[in-house]
């Protein structure tokens, strides 16, 4: 089994299932903070997916996408948390 096979047929499906679980929490999440946590988790899982895809296709450029995604996810989560703290209802 080559590395590409491992990445495509084992790692990617595992991450996809994890993504589905995260989405289920995003839909169910009783309160807003739970949804933010699920969203944060999804973005991080996306970083993992990109890393695996970079290895599977031998394209190093995708690593930059993962870096940018990390930057954006931190900004997004911080903004959400700030918003949650400022608005008592909803």
């Amino acid at each position: 089994m080559t590395l590409t096979d491992l990445a495509l047929y084992i790692i990617l499906p595992i991450l996809s299932v994890a993504l589905i679980l995260a989405v289920s929490r995003l839909i169910r999440g009783p309160k807003m903070p739970d949804r933010v946590v699920a969203l944060d988790l999804m973005v991080t899982l996306g970083m993992g997916l990109i890393a695996v895809y970079a290895i599977a296709t031998d394209q190093a450029v995708f690593l930059d996408v993962a870096t940018v995604l990390a930057l954006i996810s931190f900004l997004g989560t911080t903004a959400f948390a700030y918003y949650l703290q400022r608005r008592p209802e909803a």
Binding site: V37, A60, A66
Partner: protein, 136 residues
């Protein structure tokens, strides 16, 4: 490092990373309240994604790429606790329910309702002085 060892190391790193990310996703579904969900997921997913980025660095084996991967790992490790801390605090401020099995909540009633300041009443091993003590 020969090609085979590099591939083997990459594969092992990928599998470990995928395991931790999967655990994080299961945790976010299974844990009963917000704080436990966060402590079960944020960290294991951060560790998982670091393993995957390390796998990328090992697989391509270039200095520029490796340094970028390491920079991303460091960034994720610095920002993940800050994000978790902010969500946790916002969640507590919005009075998210704690799980019924929670055995103690020493934060309750410590926020000043008007100013939002957090007072630090001394915990258990500094018992409050009796008013008749007189020596201050």
């Amino acid at each position: 490092m020969s090609i085979e060892t590099a591939d083997l190391v990459t594969a092992v790193l990928l599998v470990i990373g995928a395991f931790f990310m999967f655990v994080g996703a299961v945790g976010v579904v299974r844990m009963p309240d917000l704080f436990m969900r966060m402590s079960a997921t944020t960290k294991s997913v951060t560790l998982g994604v670091s393993f995957m980025l390390a796998a990328v660095a090992v697989h391509f084996n270039e200095l520029g790429l490796g340094s970028r991967a390491i920079a991303t790992i460091v960034f994720v490790f610095i920002t993940a606790p800050i994000a978790a801390h902010m969500i946790g605090r916002a969640g507590y401020a919005r009075q998210v329910e704690l799980w019924h099995g929670t055995i103690a909540d020493e934060l309750r009633g410590r926020y000043d309702p008007e100013t939002g300041e957090l007072i630090s009443k001394p915990p258990v091993h500094h018992p409050e002085r009796l008013p008749s003590d007189g020596t201050d």
